[in-house]
Amino acid sequence: MVRTPPPDGSTLTAARGGRLDVPELPTLDPGITLLSTEEGATGPLQALVLDHLLLQGGEALWVDSHGHAQSQLLGRLAPSRRVLDRVRVARGFTPTQHATLVERLPERVTPNTSLVVLPAIDGQYRGDELPREDGRELFLRSLATVGRLARERDLPVLVTRRRDDEFGAPAAAAADTTVACERTEFGPRFRTEGFETLVYPGEPDGTVQTTLAYWTRILEARDPIHGATATPDEDREPSVSSAGAEGVR
């Protein structure tokens, strides 16, 4: 399924065939999904999490590492404060803290949990705080806990790696799906086996805006389908007023 930009490249959600045409994002199915992004990319992980919650409802449990759960960044992406209250975060600042949080994840999962998020799942275990073998062992143990959780509870688990190298390789091996997010001249694109989405055209003049503003617009443009399936957010700010969203009207 390949989506191409609209022919004139200027409208973002042009009505097509009588339905609202919204940019596409990959869905997160039960099992471990490894998201691989280019270095320094901000936004795709956060956008996928928020999109999932807006679409599927429920809560996300997020074990953070290396500052991915920046509340300000999430705050700017999220269409409402309410969805932020459906993300529960705890941050591991050391390998031992991270391992403790992962170990306790199963008891934190409730029937309302619809997603588990672990950015840089390998990140804490790489440092020199532990002897390298200890770090590796602790990492594998955490990964096994996460895999068991996904399997036994039939839960989508979204992970990223700090680096794509030998140390982080077990995360790829454990993943049921790998989604790559890469930059293109038309903006970021998600690619997975048998699925490719050109999520969104860039500006009419061909420039690509900062990634954060980009993801904010994506989420705004997906607002109609969010509204259709998710529990309504009473305090959702109207999103159609922002630049480029005219096509929704």
């Binding site: 031992t96 934190r108 200890d134």
Partner: protein
């Protein structure tokens, strides 16, 4: 007791007696660590292996609490054969089972602190200590195999505020210097050696060895290298940790590596020795966080709580919304950009420690299990337990002690006593200042991020309450940040005196709001890229009539040579990388602003400085930039001034480690080779005037932007003026300058 030596797994503890010293030899000392698993059976299964370890002296089953929130449980006490074996034994024990199964406790204590802790020895010296200081100029220590041909030796350095006594400059060939230093040390027989750098120790011993001189620095022969040099990263900043040395029977203070001796004095250090239980040498070396940890370690063990090796205790889950609220940090009212007349500053005294004490904020009280439904922390909805927390207990004694010291200092006229008390007060101040940031530090032994967040939330509420009360009292708040508010009279309003308002606010929030100072005027500087106020960038002129209750210690004047009429914060002249000349220019522009209150005459002063600069009449020594090096040369992505400077330093055989500073003058900013800069030590004759003109203009913009003049306005004015000068005189004006 005042110092401890470790040799061949035995301990030698040195104490002062009436007129001499005493050394107690303890050959049987065995340091102790603890081992715990989820159940005692796992420990029991492994016990025989532990007992069989060659470095384990004995084991025992004991009952301890593995954390402040946990109940007593069975743990294995492991006595290790000597301090040097502690870490390796701990590592091996943990690796036996799958990583993470065993938890180890009481592992990473410094050796002398551990000894005092485990043997109940008090490291506070009885009676005053004899000190001897040895200073060697840095130039003597350059190169691979330095030998010392000149140094200064004096006794009494720093003790009780004494000035240098019996200072002697020793010079000559390296043999003579070593011999003379040895004689002075022997005759003075000091308890404390204050060295300009501890690197002196190996250098002196090597020189003596190479040249066959019989030499001794300690009360026994020889010295000991305790740890090698290393580069580390802390809070994202690269630092350099040099080697540590010990000598028998004397405490060494390495002036290159001591926070507390530099910031306070010997009395201040000894005050912390008695509070933390860290002997003088380790105390002098320690960071603030390390001393705070030591104080907490003692409190924890007193409460039957063990000290975790690694911090397994993780954050609680919270919603992203809560995180967003918690991340806001201390409260800040955006400063009103501009120059404000008749400004008064009020500060909450030790706000964060007092919040901890009065609100019972402690790692084990915040979000306690016993009150899940209470919402005690404003805006965050965390519960705070009623049980007395350990952190408030630790801090309240420090807060009380400091209040007592400050009171005594105010009431005494004896300058020597005042100096002593100032040192003790400063030492405590640093600990109190740090206790807040430490709560948020991820790796802190007893820190907890929720404490950090709760403290912030209380602080925000307190500051907002104070703002409302001051406004109701007829004042206008022009700025407020963390623990300070600045007010001016609100026009046309009926005003109540600030003292009365402050007293009411104090009663209301339970933390003392003190009148800090009065200013004739204060200028709040906008950000460079917008008209919003920069949070901590301002300057002002102090009012003449008193009002500075806090006394000298509360003052911090940016070091402008005793002229403390002005206060500078966050502007260029306060930044350590600013060249002296640029700082001078800025301070002079601020003085001009005070005189004229108009931008044009201030620009006139600037123009005179720039003329001197263009005419190459500024001493290049005043243009040196001091920058901290963060990476090894060659690791930089961009070719910066620092890179060039580090390369030049390498060429000159000067070893600059990451974390150390390098001083350089920019001589040709256009180049991207090491010719771009010259080291200050090379004493360059010229400089890149355009580069320094730019720096001066930036500094000038900080001064004039509160009046609405940006860089473009300043440059336009300067251009007009130069045209006028050219027309009037047909050439450059007399450049003698200000």
């Amino acid at each position: 007791m005042f110092t401890v030596d470790f040799r061949d797994d035995a301990v030698y503890a040195w104490s002062r007696t009436g007129n001499g010293v005493e050394c107690e030899h303890d050959p049987d000392y065995t340091p102790t660590v603890y081992l715990e698993a989820n159940d005692w059976a796992t420990v029991a299964e492994n016990r025989e292996h532990v007992d069989a370890h060659p470095n384990v002296a004995a084991t025992a089953r004991e009952e301890w609490r593995p954390g402040f929130r946990e109940d007593p449980t069975d743990v294995l006490r492991v006595d290790v054969t000597g301090v040097d074996a502690v870490r390796s034994v701990a590592r091996q024990l943990r690796s036996w089972e799958r990583s993470g199964t065993f938890r180890l406790f009481n592992v990473d204590f410094t050796p002398a602190f551990r000894y005092c802790l485990e043997t109940d020895a008090d490291p506070t010296p009885n009676g005053s200590l004899r000190t001897l200081a040895i200073d060697v100029p840095a130039t003597e220590l350059a190169g691979d195999d330095p030998e010392i041909t000149e140094c200064t030796v004096r006794s009494g350095e720093g003790a009780n505020g004494d000035g240098p006594r019996g200072a002697e400059t020793v010079a000559g060939n390296p043999e003579t210097v070593v011999e003379r230093v040895g004689e002075r040390v022997e005759s003075a027989d000091p308890d404390v050696l204050v060295l300009s750098t501890a690197r002196l120790i190996p250098i002196l011993f090597e020189t003596a060895h190479d040249r066959g001189v019989d030499f001794q620095l300690g009360r026994r022969p020889g010295y000991r290298k305790r740890a090698g040099a290393s580069t580390y990263e802390s809070y994202g900043r690269v630092g350099h940790s040099p080697a540590r040395y010990g000598i028998p029977g004397r405490a060494v203070i390495d002036r290159e590596n001591t926070f507390f001796y530099r910031e306070t004095n010997l009395v201040g250090c000894l005050d912390l020795v008695s509070r933390s239980g860290k002997p003088l040498q380790e105390l002098a070396w320690a960071s603030i966080g390390n001393v705070l940890t030591a104080i907490q370690v003692r409190e924890a063990l007193d409460r039957n709580v063990l000290v975790p090796w690694r911090s397994w205790r993780a954050e609680f889950f919270k919603t992203m919304g809560q995180l967003q609220d918690a991340d806001r940090g201390g409260y800040t009212f955006s400063p009103r950009v501009g120059v404000h007349e008749d400004v008064h500053e009020l500060d909450f005294a030790s706000l964060y420690p007092n919040i901890i004490v009065t609100r019972n904020v402690s790692p084990e009280t915040v979000r306690c299990d016993c009150h899940p439904d209470r919402e005690d922390v404003p805006g965050l909805g965390y519960a705070v337990c009623d049980e007395q927390g350990y952190l408030p207990e630790v801090l309240s004694s420090l807060v009380d002690a400091r209040d007592g010291i400050k009171r005594e200092r105010r009431s005494t006229d004896d300058p020597e006593r005042r100096e002593t008390l100032a040192g003790r007060s400063a030492a405590l101040k640093w600990i109190l200042v740090a206790c807040f940031g430490y709560q948020g530090f991820s790796n802190a032994k007893f820190g907890r991020i929720e404490c950090h967040e709760a403290i912030n939330a209380f602080a925000r509420e307190i500051l907002l309450d104070a703002k409302a009360a001051l406004e109701a009292g007829g004042w206008e708040v022009v700025h407020g940040i963390v623990d300070s508010v600045w007010v001016t009279p609100r026009e046309g309003a009926k005003r109540r005196p600030l003292d009365a308002l402050a007293a009411e606010i104090t009663d209301d929030v339970g933390v003392r709001l003190e009148y800090e100072s009065a200013y004739d005027w204060v200028a709040f500087v906008p950000r460079r890229d917008s008209n919003a106020g920069a949070l901590t960038k301002y300057f002002g002129k102090r009012a003449n009539e008193g009002g500075t209750e806090g006394g000298a210690e509360a003052r911090d004047d940016g070091g402008n040579g005793g002229e403390d009429a002005f206060k500078y914060r966050g502007v260029e002249c306060r930044q350590r990388s600013t060249p002296e000349w640029v700082a001078d220019v800025q301070r002079d522009l601020i003085a001009a602003l005070d005189r004229y209150r108009e931008p044009e005459p201030v620009c006139g002063v600037l123009a005179q400085y720039l003329q001197r600069l263009d005419a190459e009449r500024v001493d290049p020594a005043d243009l040196a930039v001091s920058n901290r090096v963060s990476k090894e040369s060659g690791e930089y992505a961009h070719y910066t001034h620092s890179t060039a400077a580090v390369e030049r330093a390498d060429d000159a055989g000067l070893d600059v480690e990451p974390g150390q500073s390098v001083d350089y003058v920019v001589v040709d900013n256009e180049r991207d080779t090491r010719e771009r800069v010259a080291l200050a030590a090379e004493e360059p004759e010229g400089y890149d005037a355009d580069y320094y003109r730019d720096r001066a203009l930036r500094a000038a913009e900080s001064v004039l932007s509160p009046l609405g003049w940006r860089r473009g306005d300043i440059e336009a004015y300067l251009a007009d003026r130069e045209d006028a000068v050219v027309t009037a005189y047909g050439g450059a004006a007399d450049g003698d300058g200000p």
